[in-house]
Symmetry: C2
Subunit: 155 residues, 2 copies
Amino acid sequence: MTAVTRTKWLSASEMRAWLAYITTSSDLQRAIERDLEPFGLDGGDYQLLAMLSDAPDRRMKMCDLADTLRLSRSGLTRRMEGVMRKKLVERVQSESDKRVAYAVMTKKGMNLLTKVAPHHVASVREKMIDRLSDGEIRALATAFEKIAAGLNVDH
Amino acid sequence: MTAVTRTKWLSASEMRAWLAYITTSSDLQRAIERDLEPFGLDGGDYQLLAMLSDAPDRRMKMCDLADTLRLSRSGLTRRMEGVMRKKLVERVQSESDKRVAYAVMTKKGMNLLTKVAPHHVASVREKMIDRLSDGEIRALATAFEKIAAGLNVDH
DNA sequence: CAAAAATAGTTGCGAGCGCAACTATTACGA
DNA sequence: TCGTAATAGTTGCGCTCGCAACTATTTTTG
């Protein structure tokens, strides 16, 4: 962005896309999170469990987990309190580097995720994916990949 | 969603779209809000001012404002405290219906929005719009309009 | 190798927001 | 018309989360 910003307003088409995106994305997120509530999980818990389930040995360094979840270190500490209280995840101190701790998904956590995931996928389909054409899905993927590339979320 | 959910997983293409969307949208929102901070506004303040600036007489009933901003009543009450402290918005009691209060943008609020809006638009362009082709922008608009139609955000 | 810097994680604090409960006012139904 | 229901808004409370400050460990560097 230049020092003196020469304003180039959004065209009608651009405005339509921006407004549709900005208003709908928050509604969509709420709707999908609401479908998780019956299982005693919120969106943050689910994301955490999903990340761990994909990781080798179902464990991740707190540090890396915070980055992928877009949480601050302290934010992850607090969220871990919640899932640990529910016995879905354990905290394990590293032997090699005594600074680091691992978040490790428990059997109970894995069982819960296995139970919830199909409902979550169904929810994502119902609210979003199944409403879009193949072309729209491809366009969405490339569009957000381009946007992500431009954001260079540091490191 | 049926009672017994028959899981139909996401295809590779669908998963790509979903992941790109879900990870990027949160980064995008943060990036755009960060560009507002130098002006002493956060995303919520900007949205509030933008809605008021579009309304007749730059005023809206608290109630309607809360709905369009996707805030609870109490959430709006608290957010109003902030923008009122900054003298950007005033709270005006209605004469005809003594239950309702209007949020009215002040001259100062209007001046600030006029100053900030070009930077915000530039930010939205830089982070999102200008990175997309015309086709992608059209696809995004129709895609999110379809999604919104399926969410029927009650009221 | 000692001192400085980087890294991992936790804690205190404050901001934002939703829910439930409450007050005040208006609309409605018998 | 009176009583009930609906509507508008605020307040108390709790949750999530980021920032700044802090501790505890490496890692780097002169």
